[in-house]
Subunit: 142 residues, 4 copies
């Protein structure tokens, strides 16, 4: 039997809050999803003007980051033509996201959840995800 | 061209708040999903102890209620064996939910969104969805 | 609560009409799909000789253009190997189309729907979608 | 942040072992799946002669039992025509199994995983799942 550390709903709200603040600062309404360490959804918000396609994409970025323990933009690099993970993007019915904007939430070296952001450019999505993560880690004193 | 009235994120949070209060009152941790009038997700929360299966089921109950403009428990009645909508439950890849817990949000006769709840019995799910709806309508002065 | 402007069925028929006229002019029978601003189908026609695969593809191009507020050929550019959105094409179960032929319908700066065309080359599909859009905008006095 | 107790691979092997012994005793080759408390697969074995359809069904029974915290045969009872959960069987793309053979693994009141069995009659499947569970609980001193 093992013990697993996992985000709770309060943690998820803090991650959302940090992401939303950054999204408002750069003026891009976003879809933001928070999942637990197994990739299952805990909380989600679509800001006014967030894209409909991004509801699914944000959730799947968070899923990928947590469940594969890897930022989605890193998958973007290794899945380029000729790369070792080329073609991985269509795995799991297309849920395996290789576009930036999904980050694992890591505490003391363990993945405890994930944040996924979508509606801006991948760079903006990643920036907002990072802001949510930074806000959470600062609050957690990490 | 037509104009469509739709829940915004603030509305969604009020619906979540009302549902969550009722869930806490009856002591059943729930998954609660709020969608717009087209069935697309606006906000979601899984309370501590809400079921993993219910993440999808809550979202699909809200989708069904808003997009089909009908409470899911009403579909439960007409989809019984021999009923006119028998078998509808597996439509749309199984997203068409006929189990209670999904309610359309109706303002001035127009469906503006939906709320879907899952993790308890269907009766409890419906009760929590109704509480979210009542809380929202009271706040909106309807 | 917010108000959303959306194509109605009459609008959708005008978009179809404009696309069909162009398709006949260039002699390529097309599948043409019109969706609302949330990406849900309003009208569809497969001209005699339109491809069966294109029924789904035209619908998904229209969905992508409206729900992501972006022409599908623009996704084609940013999703090339090395591009920022590389790998996005398999998102949402493969519904996120990056091949030309899907255009958002924009009125006064707001996306009110989308048109998706498939059966020709992507350049022909895009040309027919644009013709549908131009015809509609001219009729709407925009 | 919360802590979650979860089956590890050694536990999963013990569950498999107990189920396999019972399957051999009754002479029915089975597919047996073990998942963690979030419903994700830890271990799986198809005994010689186990059904191909049962690979998916065993996994989905284990998933349902763990992620919904409920034995699948209990869902079978409440989802009968006229029952409160009628129609639930097609939820989550049909993964929500209401046929006997899926049991949650519960330690000290907490669901830590699930076992799903398929290839015999539902009664045989349930018997084999129960045997796996009993073997595990005996070994764990519970």
């Amino acid at each position: 039997m093992i013990n697993v550390m996992r985000l709770d709903l309060d943690d998820a709200r803090i991650l959302l809050e940090g992401g939303r603040a950054e999204a408002e600062k750069i003026g891009i309404p976003m879809c933001i999803a928070i999942v637990d360490e197994s990739g299952n959804l805990i909380a989600f918000e679509r800001m006014e003007g967030g894209k409909v396609t991004s509801t699914t994409i944000a959730i799947d970025k968070a899923y990928t980051a947590a469940a594969a323990k890897r930022a989605t933009h890193e998958y973007g690099q290794v899945s380029q033509p000729g790369g070792p993970a080329y073609g991985i993007n269509s795995a799991i019915g297309g849920r395996l996201m290789v576009v930036g904007g999904g980050l694992p939430v890591i505490i003391d070296g363990a993945v405890v959840g994930g944040i996924g952001v979508s509606s801006g450019t991948p760079a903006q999505d990643q920036q907002v995800a990072q802001a949510g993560l930074d806000h959470f880690l600062a609050r957690a004193g990490k």
